[in-house]
């Protein structure tokens, strides 16, 4: 009994000591790759990894931090394990990190050119702390041409169409006019920003983003009233407003291209890749620009995008960021679709399909594109599930699709917006 017993306990003790050491050593080690933390996940992450495989200066390790990338980077900073490069979903984060001195100065490639005003968002103190690596065209409506022969050209036509289709849907004689993924707060803020951009000049819009203008002022009121006019149409959404608030964005695409419960959908350029997965039959969805007040004139183009930054002290990171701005770098992702470059020197014919070529051309020709407002706001106003402007817009949506009169809903929302802006300002 003693022989095997002794062997057993020695083995046990050795295993107890050795296993954690060996196990944890296994997690690190090898050549030191450049570490990139990104907001993308799933398909997008796979595409980005394909891009990184072309990096000539060595291996790059990309990890997804998802929507919580800010919390993730904060924690890594505390632990002293910041990555070399991060791809951030909002310029507001770049401003905040730059102010805290976390970021290195970066320089894009010589050929790199972005639409007017976009680059300034990443250089709050005159020094450039990040570069745009992916753009989003956020002023699009999607529909199946067989369901809607003539798309509306102005906001008033859109409202009239919604009223007409809504009445028909309530009678059970056809699909609802609009699908909306109101469970995702960013869908609602993007609606709001498109309308706001149409109602303000660039200076007013910028002032709101910078926290220099009053959220209880006239443009905000006008934009909210417009939204209330449309969203409040009875029968506007399949299943009603309550149901729309539980619908995520991708599901709203399914409602239009597959289930055909709704005719129209507002969504950015990446709607295309979702529609491709779920569409039924050969018919492809078509697009029209977010309608403005005037006929024949496109409203301002709303753009969003992701930014690459390098953390202070990482020369490898700075080099990688510069490489990402070279035209050929994102080639693999461009060719596989679902990617729009913020670099207007990329020729439109470099994109695989007519749709993306058109969007790239629009981005190229946009006189004064407006950048996504909520993405520029500081945290927590910028919004996340249950927080900030996302939450405020969802409450507004619930109000106007519920029984609250539009004027009262607008008043409540403006109070909430002003309070959130004030609290955020005080915390800074």
């Amino acid at each position: 009994m003693t022989g095997p017993g002794r062997l057993g306990r020695r083995t046990l003790l050795r295993a107890a000591v050795a296993a954690p050491v060996a196990g944890l050593a296994g997690c690190s080690g090898g050549a030191t790759p450049v570490r990139v933390v990104v907001v993308w996940s799933a398909e997008e992450l796979a595409r980005f990894r394909a891009v990184l495989r072309g990096y000539p200066a060595g291996p790059v390790q990309a990890t997804s931090a998802g929507d919580d990338i800010d919390a993730f980077l904060n924690a890594r900073r505390l632990a002293g394990t910041s990555p070399d490069v991060a791809i951030l979903p909002r310029p507001g984060l770049v401003t905040a990190y730059a102010r805290r001195g976390w970021l290195a100065q970066v320089e894009p490639a010589a050929s790199y050119r972005t639409p007017t005003g976009l680059a300034d968002l990443l250089a709050p103190d005159g020094r450039r702390h990040g570069v745009w690596v992916k753009a989003a065209h956020k002023s699009l409506f999607w529909y199946l041409p067989s369901r809607l022969p003539t798309p509306p050209a102005t906001w008033d036509e859109l409202v009239a169409l919604t009223r007409r289709l809504g009445a028909r849907a309530r009678a059970g004689a056809g699909p609802a006019p609009l699908a909306i993924g109101a469970a995702d707060g960013w869908v609602l803020t993007d609606w709001f920003e498109n309308v706001l951009a149409d109602l303000t000049d660039p200076q007013e819009y910028d002032a709101l983003a910078r926290g220099a203008a009053d959220w209880q002022g006239r443009p905000v009121r006008a934009a909210l009233l417009r939204l209330a006019e449309l969203w409040g149409v009875p029968g506007a959404f399949p299943g009603g407003g309550r149901r729309a608030l539980l619908t995520q964005f991708q599901e709203s695409v399914i409602q239009v291209v597959r289930r055909r419960e709704a005719v129209l959908l507002y969504g950015a350029d990446f709607t295309d890749s979702v529609a491709r997965t779920f569409r039924h039959g050969p018919e492809q969805p078509a697009t029209f620009r977010f309608p403005g007040a005037r006929s024949g004139v496109d409203g301002p183009l709303l753009v969003g995008g992701d930014v690459a930054v390098a953390f202070a002290g990482s020369t490898a990171g700075v080099r990688l960021v510069q490489w990402l701005t070279e035209v050929p770098s994102f080639g693999p992702w461009r060719r596989s679709g679902g990617y729009l470059s913020p670099d207007v020197s990329v020729p439109p014919w470099d994109y695989p399909d007519a749709m993306t070529q058109l969007l790239a051309t629009e981005l190229r020709q946009a006189a004064s594109p407006r950048f996504d407002l909520s993405d520029r706001l500081p945290a927590p106003f910028t919004g996340s599930d249950g927080i900030g402007i996302w939450r405020i817009m969802q409450d507004f949506f619930a109000d106007v699709t519920g029984a609250v009169p539009p004027a009262e809903a607008v008043r409540r929302t403006m109070v909430a917006l002003a309070r959130a802006a004030r609290d955020t300002e005080r915390a800074r």
Binding site: T2, G5, G8, R9, A15, A16, V17, A19, P20, G23, L24, C27, S28, R35, V37, S41, A42, Q61, T63, S64, G66, D67, D68, D70, A71, N74, A75, R76, L78, A79, G80, T81, P83, A182, D184, G185, P238, G239, G240, R242, R243, L245, L246, T247, Q248, Q250, E251, V253, I254, R258, R259, V274, T277, F278, S384, D385, G386, I387, Q394, A398
Partner: protein
């Protein structure tokens, strides 16, 4: 054997009267064995708790008194979150305790009882992420996809516009609670079963012999001698377990109803994700105080040994007849109902991703395409391997550290034993969200390279208190003879330790399985502490819920794959689990 009695006399003198724990080595050199556990808990629990307390009353090192508390509790929605946390901590344990007792009693002494209990135990093993996915699929607001919505619509005769939405702002907490009850009832059933089996049946016979009614039997032969304490233990366990609702809310509640579902755990995470802010710390302190107070109240109930020491003689053969047919049917019905969520999850996973996202599983042809999609995903394999490695490393380390610490602690008796028990319990119940920021700070002091090391350390610190508690009690409960033999047989303390551990196999197995399953099933620790070098499974699945409906096929398949190993472990080790926990459970 009998001759060796003479040789034992000296030991007997040393040991003294057969009091619990007296046969163990004196506190002295061996108290150094406590060092690993003390370092882990000191740095990763005690210091962070103190830092949280400090942060709750200061801003940049300046004393601000109760300002953070006023701001945090006065913020819109904070009162509702506190109220909802209390509702969870009172209502859910009450339901789980009542259901657990009923099902334990109904499934006793019948042929199918074993199977019924096995089915009820399965959900304990399943990650809460999986439970959340299964219930969100069932509660999908679209009647074409969500079976429960379809049935609710048919029953109430409501149209698509007015059908009750279980994930909507009014009912979301009910939906979350149902998932939680589903997951936790099995635990209550197991504990009640053990307690009921420990009640000597002669007691019931005696009550009946004196003309006692059914109610008298329940009251005098079950409730007063034992069930009162068991109820207290189950209630406390579940109440403390409700801090795990965090995982469920993240998975189940759509973004627009997060606030209506919010509890303190979520609120703290939203206020200070991964870092420390004054307001987050203030909320954390409130929660910490409530949890510790709840634990103290529970400890009052169970101050005496629980459950009572095993009877010296084998229990009398139980001649009581099985429960009536009606009751047995109830138990069988419950078992079937408990299988439904897992069944729906598997059914959804067995459909093409496009069908899973657009139609109900009952209306589309089966396919393995969702599994093919998931299995082709390199990230899934990476995170499976990473989680396996992490869980193994953490389990082995926790077992080692806990065995070392339990050995000297088992020697303690009286108030010293009770106060260490309370301290360990307090350490067990600290919610990790509360101390996340400070823990990250502490990790930054010494372990700034590779962060999966940090993740493993946090898991260890969270696992060690309960493991020590179970092993200490198991050691202390060993009969004095076994301890003497072990001390005579082992030439060194570690020889004795290993011999004793061998006598305590059920407790050791229980600790290993529980720890492994805890790490494997985790979401919140991974969310707060995982590094760039590996994403644990829970986090991987959570990432997929960003587009829940569009992803439901792959999500269901991934959840099924993630649940296989923990279910297998718990089912295979269920006897040891029960024996180990009962012999060394909460005291």
């Amino acid at each position: 054997m009998s001759r060796r009695v003479l040789g034992e006399v000296a030991v007997l003198d040393d040991v003294g009267p057969p009091r619990r724990g007296r046969a163990y080595p004196a506190v002295g050199a061996t108290s150094a064995l406590l060092l690993p556990a003390a370092l882990l808990l000191g740095f990763l629990l005690l210091v962070p708790v103190l830092l949280t307390l400090y942060a709750s009353v200061t801003t940049d090192g300046r004393w601000v008194g109760a300002a953070h508390f006023r701001a945090a509790l006065g913020a819109p929605g904070a009162g509702a979150a506190v109220g909802r946390t209390l509702l969870w901590a009172l209502l859910v344990p009450a339901v789980v305790t009542a259901l657990g007792y009923l099902l334990a009693a109904a499934s006793r002494r019948s042929a199918e009882g074993g199977l019924v209990r096995l089915i009820l135990v399965l959900p304990i093993a399943v990650p809460l992420v999986t439970a959340g996915v299964a219930f969100r699929l069932a509660y999908d607001p679209d009647p074409a996809r969500g079976l429960v919505t379809l049935i609710a619509g048919a029953l109430t005769g409501a149209s698509a516009e007015t059908v009750p939405l279980l994930l909507g702002p009014r009912l979301v907490t009910v939906a979350l609670m149902s998932a939680f009850v589903w997951a936790w009832v099995g635990l209550a059933v197991v504990v009640f079963r053990a307690a009921l089996d420990a009640v000597p049946p002669s007691l019931a016979d005696a009550v009946r012999a004196f003309g006692g009614s059914r109610r008298d039997v329940l009251w005098d032969a079950q409730w007063r001698p034992l069930l009162l304490r068991t109820v207290a233990v189950v209630f406390a366990l579940v109440a403390l377990g409700t801090s795990r609702t965090f995982d469920l809310i993240l998975i189940m509640a759509p973004g627009s109803v997060r606030d209506e579902a919010s509890v303190l755990a979520l609120r703290i995470w939203q206020t200070s994700p991964g870092t420390t802010t004054g307001e987050g710390a203030a909320l954390g302190v409130v929660w910490l105080a409530a949890v510790v107070a709840g634990m103290l109240v529970a400890a009052l109930f169970v101050r005496q040994a629980w459950p009572p020491p095993w009877p010296a003689e084998p229990p009398e053969t139980d001649a009581t007849p099985p429960p009536p047919r009606r009751v047995r049917l109830l138990a069988a019905g419950a078992a079937i109902a408990w299988l439904i969520p897992l069944g729906m999850l598997v059914a959804t996973s067995l459909h093409h991703p496009v069908d899973a996202a657009t139609r109900g599983w009952w209306s589309a042809p089966p396919s393995v395409a969702s599994y093919a999609t998931v299995l082709r995903d390199v990230d899934l394999w990476r995170s499976l391997l990473f989680t396996l490695l992490l869980a193994t490393v953490v389990t082995v380390t926790v077992l080692g550290v806990a065995l070392l610490a339990a050995y000297p602690l088992a020697w303690l008796t009286g108030s010293a034993a009770q106060s260490t028990g309370l301290l360990l319990m307090a350490a067990t119940v600290v919610p990790v969200q509360v101390i996340a920021g400070p823990v990250n700070e502490v990790l930054g002091w010494g372990f700034s390279s590779g962060t999966s090391r940090g993740l493993a350390l946090v898991h260890m610190a969270l696992g060690v208190p309960f493991a020590v508690l179970v092993l200490r009690n198991a050691f202390a409960d060993l009969p004095a003879e076994q301890v003497r033999h072990a001390r005579l047989g082992g030439r060194h303390w570690w020889g004795t330790l290993v011999r004793l551990a061998r006598h305590n196999r059920p407790a050791v197995v229980a600790v290993c399985v529980l720890e492994f399953v805890r790490v494997w099933n985790d979401l919140v620790v991974g969310l707060l502490f995982s590094g760039t070098d590996g994403a644990p499974l829970g986090l991987f699945l959570y990432g997929q819920t960003r587009h829940f409906v569009a992803n439901s096929g792959a999500l269901a398949a991934g959840s099924v794959l993630a649940s296989v190993l923990p279910m297998l472990l718990v089912v295979l080790a269920r006897r040891q689990l029960v024996a180990g926990l009962v012999s060394g459970g909460i005291r």
